[in-house]
Amino acid sequence: MKLSKTLLATSALTVAAAGAVTAQDMADSMTLVSWGGAYQSSQQNAYVAPYLEMNPDVSASWDESSAEAVAKLRAMNEAGNVTWDLVDVVASDAIRLCDEGLAMEVDHDELLAPAPDGTEASDDFGDLIVSDCFIPQIVYSTTFGYRTDMVPEGVEAPNDICDVFDLETYPGKRALEQRPINNMEWALLCDGVAKEDVYDVLETDEGQDQALAKLDTIKDEVIWWSAGADTPQLLADGEIFMGSTYNGRLFSVIEEQDQPVAMMWDAQVFDLDGWIIPAGLPEDRLARVKDFVRFATDTQRLADQAKYISYGPARESSAPLVSTHAELGIEMAPHMPTDPNNAENTFLYNYEFWADYRDDIDAKFQAWLAQ
């Protein structure tokens, strides 16, 4: 009795002294959920490994389930047994998870570290905090890559989004994602709709038909992809002339695998990727996750991540710190989707629009595809 009382008293003292949660109150393992591949290893290298080095008692395991994160979290939540501690999702999924009450709302200024100059986290991340549950990590973009050796002779290399729809000048197969998002916008842009009107037009039935009609002009030449690795593979095999995918995947085809492929940044669509903390974690696990997230999203760590993959750090204060690729030694800044040269004509994924219209337009899109 006496001993345990003394122990209690001592640990209470320690807590008071530290003024924060002590290591004893934090779980010593974490399950992180991510996308696998090069992206996950950039996370592993940039902040998971350093964090584990600083906290040798802690272990982290990966679950490569981000693609089905929303469905799996919902199932876990219904079963009352959430085994994940931190989940990497795209912004639209973070919004849905927040809507469904499956992700925890966070106070960004309290949870996340301020920038080195003292700027609050919410100002440093700025508009990228698209949901109260979302802790941004990177800005990536969906854009086109093309085979340089398949450009017909005497023709300028494709540099306009509408070249995708121009089968006469640029004959060959294309790869597009098997979902309406992005494709519908590109189709409207190339059908004479002004950039600022795209979503107004897409709200109407006529606008949706117009976009599908435009896509119809290249439908026979399109291979529809559903996994991010498909387009790089198809490009490397020479199956397609041009195809859309995430810019980091194209970077790795071009720079790391040295394929005759080039980027076409025109009308790239920006999107965000970041962490969410599942709702209802027990206190010790939550404390560990909060400690980790604070470290993993600070200015230096996000800049470090850009050494391994060409995705832009979500913090404004990280941008000047972006350096060279860890293995190739090339400057990473020109490969970032946010680089001014690449970002001449960009699009920002309209989360609210697609949250509303996703089901409706997808039904039409899939029916159109199946015809």
């Binding site: 929303v70 469904e100 009450g101 291979i223 199956e239 609210e352 089901d359 039409k364 029916a367």
Partner: protein
């Protein structure tokens, strides 16, 4: 020849037959067992004991299957009709909409907006309104953001009242005065004595307050219970939600509180006077909703809520046969949104094609396997089983490499000069690719049952037929083939049922024209999160398979199916 006395039935006297007949005629009651109980009952009891013992023996397996297989599947399929979310989240609105005529194309009256205000406000505090928004967005485009916006926007109504009450008396925005006005004195005492660790004493309304201020009391009670149960905070220290102030305004404008003499009576009377004064600013619920989003004053959202207010809905099943609920009843979807009928047909058709290609390819192999000498047959068997043991994904990806336009087959054809370099065949990302890859993957499921049946056909039958003068063809067709039909039957059922639910191969090599209904089910499970629709599609698929099985049983007879022996 025979005389009457010797015919068996005519013999009189004690014979066994006569004794039985006598027993029948006598009808002396049931035959008794040794212990005196009727034989029938005694036999039944023995049988029942036997059955129970058998049941007890299989019980572990039965319980395992029930718990880990049937129950989860049943639960999942049940979601295809389940729809409590609307009436659980918006109970008052659903009640207020009972008299609303959804076909009228009119916006419902103010009482519905009032009910919706309270419902959406409480749901927003519980963070359930966005969940309902996503649910209704499957039926009505835009519902998702409508509810998301409204959760925040509805605070404005209560704030109008809160500000005015607060200007009158700051106590209206304090926790304690509210608790005294609403709470039972015993509860207040108990709550004050609460030590902060054990369970909080559950909030109790003061005895007569519900009569004086019915809406306010109900609203405050919801607030107080929520604070206690969900947040773990004491209502003595939390200012009430603004919805309580709205309720207070409504009560005061309708009721006379001059007779009230409980705690904080002065405060209440002053508020009553304020509400009665002409300067008091009020907001109509309808206007407030309209200000949040104009969609609230269109009939569409109310029709949708009304149509989906019952606890069980046929909506998912209608969706899965390309129909939809409308106020006038079920109707076909627009032509450009119909997809499931097409996919069901295609799934059936392709599964049949795959089954037949498996029969065509598998039959000769099974025949060879069962007729070759053992050493060669074993080698062949390994060749059949090897792909069977290889990972599904590897085999599917291999087909991708083989079939694509820059792939092995096309390269060989171009090299042989059979195909021009710019006219390479398209063999993947279409139905052809799916059929080829799936036929290959499912072939062992056809060969193995066929083989096990064929190996039991005695070779002597074939020799006998030949020795009786039959040609090779006649021998095969009239003697061998009929005996191998049960193997074909078993293989066909296996292959057909497996292929009808196949998912990963069509996803990888199917493109858009080669995908199955299961790909859409997977999409709704993991991407669109419309589990109700996925469950409805899955239920239909299950019923179709069971129907086909039943038809197969009637036509071929399930007893004719052999997996071996």
């Amino acid at each position: 020849m025979s005389d009457a006395a010797t015919e068996p039935d005519k013999i009189t006297g004690p014979t066994p037959d006569n004794a039985l007949r006598a027993a029948d005629k006598a009808d002396e009651g049931p035959v008794l067992a040794a212990d005196g109980t009727p034989l029938k009952r005694s036999l039944n009891r023995a049988l029942r004991a036997q059955k129970l013992r058998a049941l007890a023996l299989i019980a572990p397996l039965l319980i395992f299957v029930l718990v880990s297989f049937i129950a989860p599947i049943g639960d999942m399929l049940f979601r295809s009709v389940e729809n409590q979310i609307v009436s659980d989240t918006l109970p008052r609105t659903v009640r207020a909409l009972e008299t609303y005529d959804a076909t009228s194309e009119e916006v419902p009256g103010d009482e519905v907006f009032e009910a919706a205000y309270y419902d959406v406000f409480y749901a927003a505090e519980r963070k359930l309104h966005t969940r309902l928004g996503s649910r209704l967005n499957y039926e009505m485009t835009g519902a998702s953001s409508l509810f998301r916006k409204s959760g925040r926007g509805l605070d404005d109504i209560g704030e109008v009242y809160l500000d005015q009450f607060e200007d009158l008396d700051e106590n209206w925005d304090e926790a304690r005065p509210w608790a005294e006005l609403m709470g039972d004195p015993d509860w207040i005492a108990a709550q004050e004595a609460w030590d902060g660790e054990s369970n909080m004493p559950e909030f109790e309304l003061r005895a007569d307050i519900s009569e004086v201020l019915p809406r306010t009391a109900a609203s405050y009670e919801i607030f107080a219970r929520f604070m206690q149960d969900e947040e773990g905070d004491s209502p003595l220290e939390e200012e009430p939600w603004t919805v309580v102030h709205t309720a207070l305004y409504q009560d005061l404008s309708e009721r006379d509180v001059s007779g009230y003499s409980g705690p904080r009576a002065d405060m209440l009377r002053a508020a009553d006077e304020l509400v009665a004064s002409p300067d008091f600013e009020t907001v109509s619920f309808r206007d407030a909703f309209e200000e949040i989003d104009e969609d609230w004053v269109t009939p569409e959202i109310w029709q949708t809520i009304k149509m989906y207010s019952p606890a069980y809905t046929s909506g998912y099943f209608l969706n899965s046969v390309d129909m939809q609920k409308t106020p006038e009843g079920p109707a076909l979807r627009d032509e450009d949104e119909r997809i499931y009928g097409l996919l069901f047909q295609r799934t059936m058709f392709m599964s049949l094609v795959i089954t037949f290609s498996c029969i065509l390819l598998g039959y000769p192999i099974a025949y060879l396997l069962s007729n070759l000498p053992a050493s060669k047959a074993n080698l062949l068997m390994i060749l059949v089983l090897l792909p069977f043991w290889t990972s599904l994904l590897v085999r599917t990806s291999a087909w991708k490499v083989m079939l694509q336009q820059q792939g092995v087959i096309n390269d060989v054809l171009v090299w042989l000069g059979m195909v021009a370099d710019d006219g390479r065949l398209v063999m993947i990302n279409n139905q052809f690719g799916t059929i080829v890859a799936m036929t290959h993957i499912l072939l062992p499921f056809m060969i193995l049952p066929m083989y096990s049946v064929m190996s039991t056909i005695p070779p002597s039958y074939v020799r006998a037929a030949k020795s009786l003068g039959a040609t090779n063809w006649t021998t095969f067709w009239r003697v061998y083939f009929p005996q191998s039909v049960p193997g074909i039957g078993a293989g066909s059922i296996l292959v057909f049922i497996l292929s009808i639910g196949y998912y990963i191969t069509p996803e990888i090599v199917g493109g858009t024209s080669g995908i199955f209904i299961s790909n859409r089910i997977a999409y709704h499970i993991s991407s669109s999160l419309n589990w109700g629709l996925a469950a409805a599609l899955g239920s239909i698929l299950l019923v179709v398979v069971l129907l086909l099985y039943w038809a197969y049983d009637r036509i071929v007879g399930i007893d004719n199916v052999k997996l071996g022996g």
